[in-house]
Structures are given as C-alpha cells and as structure tokens.
C-alpha cells in the first residue's frame, strides 16, 4: 500500500524562480507502540519560502508537533521512525545529512519555539546564561561578549530592564516574558526558518496578542520563513500566508489562507470553521463535527475523515483520496473536493442530536 499523497507540493503566493527555503516531500513518520505501528505522518508535502508564514493547523494527534520535531531532528527514535521522505533545506536533504552538519543547522539556521516555556528552559541556570550559550556554542564567543549579545537579544524581544534581569532564573518571569526569552534564544543566531509549535497556547489572550505581534515583527525584520503550528483558527487567520490542514497525519487541505477561509475545499476544514463559536457573533446552535478523530494505530480504510463526514459515500470508505488541485493553488484530499468547494456536495448523513455519532439521511423517516 502506498501511503504517499501527491508530490506536487504546493506553492501558492510565491514568486516564481524563488528557490524554496524548506521543502518537505512525502514525509512519513511512524511510532512503534504496544498497540501496533502508529502512523503519525502519512506522506506530508509542503514548501516554505523566505518571509512566508505557513500555518499547520490540526487537532491533537493530527501529527503537527511530530512534523516540527522531525524537521528539527529532535524526534525520539525509537519509538519514532522516519519511514520515508525528504526534508530539504536550501536543497540539502536533512534526513541523509551527517549529524555534525545537521547540528550546525539546528538552532542556527532552523530554530524552534516550544509551547511550554517553563519546561523548555533550564530552571537552574539564569536566562541570560541560556541565551548566551547559543553564541558560545555556535559562534565560539567568549563569555563576556556572549553575555552582552544575550542582553541585546533580551532587549530586542522587549524584556524591560534586560541588563538587570539577565541574571534571573526562568521561574522569576511571567509566562509571556518566558515565551519572549524562548523567542530571543530562537532568533539569536539569525535563523532562516523558525518553527513555532503552539507558541501562544499557554498564554492569556492579551499576552498572546503581544507575543504574536513580536513574532510577526521579527519575521519581517529578519525575513524568516515561519512555520506556525497551532489549533487556533483565529491566530491562523491573523498571521498566516498559507495554511495546511492536517488530520490523522495527512494534509487534508492546503491553500492560501484567504482562499481556505472563504471557500474551504474539504469537509473537515468546512466543519472546523462552522464549529467554532465566534466572538463577533452570538450565533445559534454550533454545527459540531460529530464523533472523534480515529486512533493512529487503527485507521479506517479509505478517507480517514469518512466516519465523521456528512458527505461520505461508499467510495470514501474504500478508496483513499489523494491530495489534488481543486482550484489554482488550492489542494484538497477529498473525492468530492470540487463539489465541497462549490458548495454543491450532497449530504448523506447528519450528526445525531447528542453529537456523538452520525445518522444516515436515507434511514430517517420522512416527516
């Protein structure tokens, strides 16, 4: 069984002739578990250009964090295993590269920000020391010089009183400030690619706005390619250029962000957009997606979304849809993508009243 989706990749919104910064081709990652092999990523494709923001949107278990770890080369192996694919940074395949060259890129050219700043920073070392470490290890700077650079970075990310606070420990900072320290570490060596894995999920909404604005400013200043991994449709709409919607380790839909929100080409994306309560709308009943995401060790045959899909047919239950073009620069992995995109798909089922399952429309008694 080939698990790969189409390898055309997608490059909406980029100028032609511009070589991509990062190219992921047909990536496959699996985990060995007691329950069997869990296919966390099943053929992932995307490209990222300088100055561009790609949002990877997905729920828990969709493989979005595993994607980030694989690109960074920090995936726990075992139990993880890269079963195939390529990750090319400026043309060089990261997966076949020797560990020494990879280590030079990691943190230097490809940097990452994690969700939980408190557990990602070392609690027993001053934050200034931790930022300076980047300069000492990668640039071979002397302690004093590195410390001065660290203070400069702390000022750059808007930490008040950076000079005095460089000697403080992580627990002495608030959540938002800790996230700023992580950002300072990540951008210290002027990376080309910045991966932000749920950077604001643990933060309050007013602090989230500050941190997202900082990330966006830094991206423009350094012309970084930003991969924003999140489950928050609001954050994506605010900052992303293009978007890849993941479900069960596969990209379900990939397109320009304006296009995706205006005309989703996959029932899952459509369902997600309809199911979130909006702050600018008191709304009526929410249109929830019924059921639950499938277990990665026990994937349904055919389309992974078919047990929860309102448009599913027998074809969806047997044949796995490939990611294909439905409109210019708009990819979708649905057999009926054109109909969904145009809003003419036929509904075969509807959610049960409690939202826990589906009812076949044909089985319903006529009223």
């Amino acid at each position: 069984m080939t698990e790969s989706q189409t390898s055309t990749g997608f490059t909406p919104g980029t100028s032609p002739g511009d070589a991509p910064l990062l190219e992921v081709k047909d990536l496959q990652v699996e985990f060995r578990t007691k329950a069997g092999v869990a296919r966390a990523i099943n053929g992932l494709n995307f490209t990222l250009h300088a100055g561009e923001t790609l949002a990877i949107l997905g729920e828990s278990g969709s493989g979005k964090s595993v994607t980030a770890q694989t690109i960074m080369g920090i995936l726990d192996m075992p139990p993880g295993r890269i079963a195939g694919g390529e990750i090319r940074y400026r043309g060089d395949d990261l997966l076949t590269m020797n560990e020494e060259s990879r280590r030079k890129l990691r943190g230097g050219k490809i940097a990452m920000i994690f969700q939980d700043a408190l557990s990602s920073l070392n609690p027993v070392l001053p934050v200034g020391w931790q930022i300076a470490e980047m300069f000492r290890v990668h640039r071979g700077m002397k302690r004093k010089e590195a410390r001065a650079k660290a203070v400069e970075m702390m000022q750059r990310v808007g930490i008040p009183g950076a000079e005095e606070r460089a000697g403080d420990f992580p627990h002495q900072f608030s959540g938002g400030m800790r996230q700023r320290i992580m950002i300072a570490m990540a951008i210290a060596l002027d990376p080309d690619v910045l991966i932000a894995d749920e950077p604001t999920t643990a933060l309050d909404v007013t602090v989230q706005a500050q941190v997202m604005r900082l990330l966006k400013d830094l991206q423009t200043e350094f012309n970084m390619g930003l991969i924003l991994i999140t489950h928050d449709l609001g954050v994506v709409a605010d900052v992303a250029d293009k978007i890849a919607v993941m479900y069960s380790g596969r990209v379900m839909e990939a397109a320009d962000v304006y296009e995706t929100y205006a005309k989703p080409g996959h029932p899952y994306t459509q369902g997600l957009l309809a199911s979130i309560p909006r702050i600018d709308d008191e709304g009526g009943r929410l249109r929830a997606i019924s059921g639950l995401p499938p277990s990665l060790t026990d994937m349904p045959p055919g389309c992974p979304f078919n047990p929860r899909c309102e448009f599913a047919t027998d074809r969806c239950r047997t044949e796995r849809p490939e990611l294909r073009l439905v409109a210019e620069g708009h990819l979708s992995a649905c057999h009926y993508a054109e109909d969904v995109y145009a809003g003419t798909a036929t509904r075969t089922r509807r959610p049960s009243p409690t939202g826990a399952g589906m009812i076949d429309v044909s089985e319903e008694a006529p009223e």
Binding site: E59, G176, T206, A209, Y258, Y261, P277, E282, A288, I289
Partner: protein
C-alpha cells in the same frame, strides 16, 4: 450593527427568581514565612469583593485571565473553600452558615464540572461507579428505577453508549470523559451547575459537541449555569450575562450583548480586541488595543483601580479612589471604571 442602546433587548430573565445571590465575597490566601513559627507576611487577594446574582435558567459567564480568581470563585460557591467575608444565598437561604444534614441537602443542588477530564475522574473506578457515587453519598436521593438503570439513562442523556457502563476512564477520549463528568454532575438533579473551564482542554471539533450538549441539558432541565472560562468566544456563545474579572474583582457585568457589542471598561475592550477573529479578511480592519505588561501581583494590587497600571485612560482619581461596580450615565451594564465609555469598534459586526 446599530448604535442604539443595547438595553432595547429586554432581559428574558428579568422576572425569574434568583437561584444564587452572591454578595461581597472575599477570599484571601495567607502568605506565611518561617518554618516552626509561621508568620503571616501578606495575603493573596484571590477574590476580593464579588457580587452578582444568578437567575433561574440563566447562564452567567465569568471571564478573565489566569490568576484573576475565577476558579477560586467556583470553589467558594461550592464551599470547597470557606470565604473570609460575604454571603451566598441559595434560593434565599444562607448557604454559608448551614451545617450538617442541611448543608448536604443544599449541596446536592449545586454541582460542578471541572476543566481537566483526565484528572477529575478516578482512574480506578468504572464509569458506572463514578456516576453512581453521588447516589451513595446521598442515599435518600436513590432513584426508584435502581441506581444502575439511572446511570444508564444518564449515559444515554450525555450521548454515551449505555453499554459502556463497565469501562474505565482511560478507555474514553477527552470529550467523552467530559461527558462522563457532566453525567455525574446531573445525577442528583441539581439546580445550579458551575462549569469551571469545561471545554478548554478539548479539541475544537469536540468542544462544539460539549457546548451543544450543555445547551440542550439546560433547556431540558431548566438548569442555571455559572460558566467560567478564559475563551471569550465560548463565553459569548453560551452566556446570557457576562462578568469580566480582573485581579479578584468584577470589572464589568452586563448582558452578553452589552458586554460584547458595547464594552465600557477599558480592560474589557482590550480583552475583546485581542481575540483573533477566524477571518483573514478582517486583518487590520479593527482597532487592536495591545496592553503593556502583565497583570500585577494579586498579593499587592495597585491602589485605587486595580487596572490603572496597564490602562491608557488612567488619571489621578484612578490611583486614589477605587471605582465601584455601578451603572454609569447612559451605560446600561455595570462598570467599575471612572472613565467608562462604550466602544462599539473593538469587534466588527459579523455579516
């Protein structure tokens, strides 16, 4: 959006009796120093004078950032913590002074659903035992049809398969576990359910299912909810009235419509303007107020208005005089701000 006064929409709960009346609730947690002789060196003012009432069939949303005291408020209302001052009346009866048997009887009527469906269910008890536990603690409420049948009914009610009565919590997903928590909360036919961040641990697609379920149950059983959450969109969707908390106090209290279409307190305005909208075409189309800094330490709140250190409107009066939560001028909702002024622009109308 019309700029007419939102009070035009009549309050549908105006003639409903109050189920819960909360007045001047205060809870300070002492900060101590020393090992043998613990000296009190200060207090974290977690809840510092909160008053509101909850009417029958109504949902009161409480929003605020972490550390504002919203979860402490939930614990006080459940009497899991004893308040330092203030009163809570349940249907006119003083809930804080009752003891023994009477307390147990009243407690049945107020139930709670917790945030984390992973830690709030005992992993060693089957789902049937978890949901039946309220009947063991309150034997006089034992259902006529038998406990097991009633548990099956409850499971069905919250959208779980009654056949799964013998399963354990780890065999369910997060959303299903939250449904189990809801079934347990419903077991004793309560009047009030306090929902402490009931959907924040859930995925987007599952969150909507649980919110719809809470909505349906409210209609079916005439429940009153106190819905505590940090997600402003979720609170707007489910609430009839909304209270905005900041550092242990209510900054603004009004109907969902008043708070979201014409917020008058600067903090509410900043909070609402910071929520990203799921629509890329609105990028840059609205006024965004980005607050500077973090909330101050609740052990040492600023004098006067607690928000003044982060407020762009603050003047001298804010430092000296604490603003009361009252209705001000044309503004129909209650606001605790000397400079309260409605701002309709923080959320663009959704067409």
């Amino acid at each position: 959006m019309s700029l007419s006064v939102p009070a035009a929409a009549a309050d549908p709960f105006a003639d409903k009796p109050s189920v819960l009346e909360v007045d001047g609730l205060v809870k300070h947690f002492p900060i101590t120093q020393g090992i043998v002789f613990q000296r009190k060196v200060g207090a974290v003012k977690a809840v510092d004078g909160v008053s509101f009432n909850l009417r029958e069939g109504e949902t009161l949303g409480i929003v605020g950032e972490s550390g504002c005291g919203k979860s402490t408020l939930a614990k006080l209302l459940m009497r899991l913590e004893e308040p330092d001052a203030g009163t809570v009346k349940f249907r006119g009866k003083d809930f804080l002074s009752v003891k023994g048997d009477e307390l147990r009887r009243l407690r049945r009527k107020i139930q709670i659903i917790f945030q984390d469906p992973y830690t709030s269910l005992n992993p060693r008890m089957s789902v049937g035992d978890i949901i039946a536990e309220p009947f063991k603690l309150h034997p006089e409420e034992k259902p006529k049809q038998g406990i097991r049948n009633r548990v099956k009914e409850l499971l069905d009610l919250v959208g779980l398969n009654p056949e799964h009565i013998n399963r354990y919590p780890h065999q369910f997903s997060g959303g299903q576990r939250q449904r189990i928590g809801i079934a347990r909360g419903l077991a004793l036919n309560p009047d009030v359910i306090i929902c402490d961040e009931p959907v924040s641990a859930l995925d987007v697609s599952v969150q909507a299912q649980v919110m719809n379920l809470l909505d349906d149950l409210q209609k079916e059983f005439g429940l009153s909810y106190i819905f505590i959450a940090h997600d402003l969109s979720v609170v707007r969707h489910i609430s009839d009235r909304v209270g905005v908390m900041y550092l242990g106090k209510l900054a603004e209290l009004g109907t969902q419509d008043e708070i979201y279409t014409g917020p008058a307190h600067p903090y509410t305005q900043a909070l609402l303007s910071a929520v990203p909208l799921p629509d890329p075409t609105l990028r840059g189309a609205r006024e965004q107020i980005v607050l500077q800094g973090d909330p101050p330490n609740p052990a040492n709140p600023p004098s006067g208005c607690r928000f003044r250190t982060r407020c762009w409107k603050a003047t001298e009066i804010c430092a000296t005089q604490e603003p009361e939560l009252i209705s001000r001028g044309q503004i129909t909702q209650l606001t605790a701000c000397h400079h309260a002024q409605q701002n309709e622009k923080v959320i663009p109308s959704h067409g």
